[in-house]
């Protein structure tokens, strides 16, 4: 197996530990497979015997394994001294491996190299063969995934397809010739971003501000920002750069155990882009695949967006172009970035900024944005259609979170709403991603679908959607919602069980919460972010390519869901258009706990009247 480039080496494997010699046995076996000549000593031999063996053998390497504890450092240092005194180090490199071994400790003890318990056998073999640098850089190379690729967007359920076409066609016809302040601002912003003429820019800005609320104009013109908002300082940016350029993450890992397991996303939205990036870099080291930037809820309520690199001393990070660009600059090129656009009055412009800043995905759900997030259905339908067009222009897919289920809307109504968005994307040439909830939602609690287990109903949602359409599925948002408690261990466990189910169901991605997400009483802590990532990594390793088998109830739930989704869509198809269906409560009503939003009501106008 050793190529001509890597000459076979003579290696002495020394388990200095009295008991724990499993690691070095595995390394020894791999080195033999690679064609090296090795000798594995028995554990706990007297040091004199080891040195005698080392002195007689003309080895290229001596690999020592030892778990560290207080006093062991001195023992190892003495061993290194004895090898040095015996003249063995003149021709032999000595390497230490074991728990808690760092490069610094290896240097302190006088070893040529140190590997901790996270080092792969391949890393060690590569070092022996003189190809350490190449192996290490290869191990941290991640490739950006394209979630929609591999899905045809073909509807298998023909009645549902026909109903969705009716609803979407009516809605698109209704939207023709209409506009909103949100759409007009997006167009103005696009022109502002691409004009090089200062006078023209000023004129466009003036037109833009004429369509904004006073708070936004004051923020952009006079830097009188809403409470808790300020410009990020240069020293903060300098410190961030210093920190990120002077540290290299040790032992980056991937979460998935095999290529078929879902990508894993987390939220970023501490309010401060610098803190988000810091958290983001740490999550990347633990293998996270992507982030969803969550904006402040007040940002959705104002007409117009604040400009500049801004920090916000509260939940939600301001999705200005500069903030998104800052995150894109520092996050790994392979990390997927989603920008939430759909909740309020700036949906088209946020999608535009996401596209301009190089984000990979955006988040748009016309139904949830109206029913669960407070925006007028007519306004959000108009803005959402424009956003889906913009997303397509920037080749961004959009994910559709079914979080209206958390208001109490039954799953079938939520799933029907998601499917309307998928058809809209299909008609407008943009890829959608279905995001059914993996949650213990209010309707489920009241109606007992999860009384016996959390598996059947969640699995039924996925199987139902897969039977209806070939479209990527990304359970969220986050998975295990309403099953987590303040106990971080329980929270990590709940996340890992739901992640296992997601892997078993072959979905494309999942969003996971931090273990203190609902209980942090302030910014989420780094440790709790890592908790849930580590839990999911272990769950994926545990599951591998195995499946979780639901009970027969899953089939019943799935059939009911498909039937009720069809019924919901039949009713919605009778409405004049999507906003009409939402206003009539066909996709969720007051009884369910869902109310059509009021922000932006009356702002849809004729395009000719602007």
């Amino acid at each position: 197996m050793v190529t001509e480039k890597y000459q076979p080496k003579k290696i002495l494997c020394v388990p200095l530990d009295p008991v724990h010699d499993v690691g070095i046995k595995l390394i020894n076996a791999e080195l033999v497979k690679h064609g090296h000549t090795t000798e594995l000593l028995a554990p706990d031999l007297p040091v004199e015997s080891i040195i005698k063996k080392a002195a007689a053998g003309s080895y290229d390497f001596i690999l020592v394994s030892r778990t560290l504890g207080y006093g062991i450092a001195e023992l190892l240092a003495r061993f290194v001294d004895q090898l040095d005194a015996a003249g063995i180090r003149e021709r032999t490199k000595i390497v230490i491996g074991g728990k808690a071994v760092t490069p610094e400790l290896a240097a302190e003890l006088g070893f040529d190299k140190g590997f901790d318990e996270h080092a792969s056998i391949e890393n060690i073999t590569a070092y022996i063969e003189g190809r350490a640098a190449a192996a290490q850089s290869a191990s941290i190379q991640k490739v950006k995934k394209n979630i929609p690729s591999g899905h045809s967007y073909t509807f298998h359920h023909k009645e549902i397809e026909a109903l969705l076409e009716q609803i979407v066609d009516k809605t698109l016809r209704w939207s023709e010739g209409k506009t909103t302040p949100g759409i007009r601002r997006a167009h103005l912003r696009e022109e502002m971003l691409h004009t090089k003429d200062n006078a023209k820019h000023e004129q466009l800005q003036s037109q833009y501000h004429a369509l904004c609320d006073r708070e936004i104009v004051e923020g952009n013109s006079e830097h009188h920002f809403p409470k808790g908002v300020r410009i990020v300082r240069n020293d903060e940016l300098h410190d961030l750069e210093q920190m990120l350029t002077s540290h290299t993450p040790h032992n980056p890992v991937t979460i998935q155990h095999n290529a078929g397991q879902p990508l894993v996303f987390k939220f970023l939205g501490s309010g401060c882009p610098v803190m988000d990036i810091t958290h983001g870099k740490i999550c990347e080291r633990w293998g996270i695949d992507g982030f969803l930037i969550i904006n402040p809820s007040w940002e959705a309520r104002y007409e117009g967006l604040l400009e500049g690199m801004l920090t916000h001393e509260n939940d939600g990070t301001i999705t200005s172009l500069e903030n998104i660009r800052l995150m894109k600059r520092w996050l790994d090129p392979a990390t997927l970035l989603t920008v939430r656009a759909h909740r309020g009055l700036n949906t088209p412009e946020t999608t535009l900024l996401a596209g301009e800043a190089g984000a990979d995905l955006t988040k748009i759900d016309l139904v949830y944005g109206s029913l669960g997030a407070g925006t007028d259905p007519e306004r959000l339908t108009m803005d959402g259609i424009e956003s889906i067009r913009i997303a397509g222009k920037y080749k961004m897919a959009f994910d559709i979170p079914g979080n209206d289920e958390l208001s109490g809307v039954p799953a079938w109504k939520t799933l029907a709403g998601l499917l309307i968005n998928v058809m809209l994307g299909k008609k407008l040439g943009t890829h959608a991603i279905l995001k059914p909830l993996f949650c213990y939602g209010p309707h489920i609690v009241l109606n007992g679908q999860m009384k016996l287990n959390f598996v059947d109903y969640n699995a039924a949602k996925i199987h139902a959607l897969k039977e209806i359409v070939d479209c990527p599925i990304w359970p969220g948002e986050p998975i295990a919602f309403m099953t987590q408690t303040e106990d971080r261990v329980q929270s990590a466990n709940a996340t890992s069980y739901h992640a296992s189910l997601a892997a078993s169901l072959g979905v494309d991605a999942i969003t996971i919460a931090s273990t203190d997400e609902a209980y942090s009483r302030g910014p989420i802590s780094i440790a709790s972010r890592i908790d849930s990532i580590r839990a999911v990594t272990d769950a994926f390793r545990f599951m591998g390519n195995a499946d979780i088998a639901p009970t027969p109830a899953m089939q019943t739930f799935k059939n009911q869901l498909i039937e009720k989704i069809t019924e919901t869509l039949r009713a919605a198809a009778e409405a004049d258009h999507l906003p009409d269906a939402i206003n009539k409560g066909l996709l969720g009503n007051a009884e369910d706990g869902a109310y059509p939003g009021k922000f932006g009501k009356g702002t849809v106008t004729s395009a000719g009247a602007q």
């Binding site: 003495r78 015996a86 003249g87």
Partner: protein, 344 residues
């Protein structure tokens, strides 16, 4: 312009254990050298200057360097040091933290040092530091490591609570260490003037048994050119108790070969036993034992963490002084000029 002493001197700082005060002593000497405007070189045989101990995670003193100091350290240490440096030479020698670089300090600051871990490489680095006009070169020790220190002209031994919390044991150990430094230098030409045998290594007791046919009949001098283990030393000393052996001289490379043994008191007893039978034990190379420092600090393991604790400092100093004729200081309570003068 820094003063370069006529004779360039290498001073090694050796610990009997981790956390016995090597860095504190080094900082004290560097401060005094700066006050006297003497050009200094600094390197180490391990890793030092970090904020927290790599094992106990307790805070550690950090190495303060002054402008124009010539420092040999590993490339990755520069990223976490605050003192800006200019790179004078890339040595092509490596530690686990990258290539060892010869650098000149541009502005005062903190420096993390990871120097050569091997005896032969330390000699190469010291020559380089001398080439760059470092007049007084300090070699920072690492844990209880000692083998590379044979390249030093004089050594300072640090001991204290971190080695043992038993003051009587520390005193008897330092007495043994001092005694091993008092053994003579081998007379020049002894190996050619007497019938001698060169045995590079004596490791297991059986190795000494194998040697008996050689050393028992007529040969006068045994030269152990690399290393003798404690077990082999005990067996060797036993031969003289059990019957006549012709060897009268045992020559070792340096005292560090004996000092790297875990139980120095036992090693010293074996030497005494040989001396009792009129055997002369001497060295090919013998650095000066400049002085001993005593540090009362020790890390106490309390469940999952370590907490700082202290021995009775006065008692520690008094007992060590009673056991050793070499000067003993508590670094933090001694004038830096006194510590500096005592190095030479």
């Amino acid at each position: 312009m820094k003063k370069v002493p006529q004779r360039k001197t290498v001073i090694g700082i050796v610990g009997t254990a981790k956390n016995t005060g090597k860095t504190t002593t080094l900082n004290c000497l560097l401060k005094e050298a700066a006050r006297r405007n003497i050009s200094v070189g600094i390197t180490g045989i391990g890793y030092d200057g970090e904020e927290a101990d790599t094992v106990t995670l307790l805070p550690k003193p950090r190495i303060n360097v002054q402008p124009d100091s010539i420092v040999a350290t590993s490339e990755r240490c520069l990223d976490i040091s605050t003192a800006p440096v200019e790179i004078l030479h890339r040595t092509g020698l490596y530690t686990s933290l990258g290539e060892i670089l010869i650098t000149r300090v541009l502005r005062a600051g903190l420096l993390v040092i990871a120097g050569p871990g091997k005896k032969e490489e330390l000699r190469i680095i010291l020559e380089k530091l001398k080439q760059y006009e470092a007049g007084c070169i300090f070699v920072d020790g690492s844990l209880n490591r000692i083998a590379p220190m044979s390249a030093a002209d004089s050594v300072i031994f640090t001991t204290g609570g971190s080695r043992s919390t038993d003051i009587a044991l520390l005193s008897s150990e330092m007495h043994a260490i001092e005694s091993l430094f008092i053994l003579p230098l081998a007379p020049a030409g002894i190996l050619s003037a007497t019938e001698s045998v060169d045995v590079p290594l004596l490791l297991e007791a059986g190795d000494v048994d194998d040697l008996l046919p050689v050393i028992g009949h007529g040969l006068k001098t045994l030269f152990i050119s690399k290393y003798i283990s404690p077990a082999a030393l005990v067996r060797l000393s036993d031969y003289y108790t059990n019957g006549p052996v012709s060897i009268q001289n045992i020559i070792l490379p340096d005292p560090f070969v004996l000092l790297m043994n875990e139980n120095i008191v036992h090693t010293h007893k074996s030497i005494l036993k040989l001396q009792k039978h009129s055997i002369t034990v001497s060295y090919r190379c013998l650095p000066k034992l400049a002085y001993i420092t005593a540090n009362p600090f020790f890390p106490e393991y309390t469940g999952n963490t370590y907490s700082p604790q202290f021995l009775n400092g006065t008692e520690l100093l008094m007992q060590l002084r009673r056991s050793c004729s070499t000067p003993v200081f508590n670094t933090q309570e001694t004038e830096p000029s006194l510590l500096f003068n005592a190095c030479f």
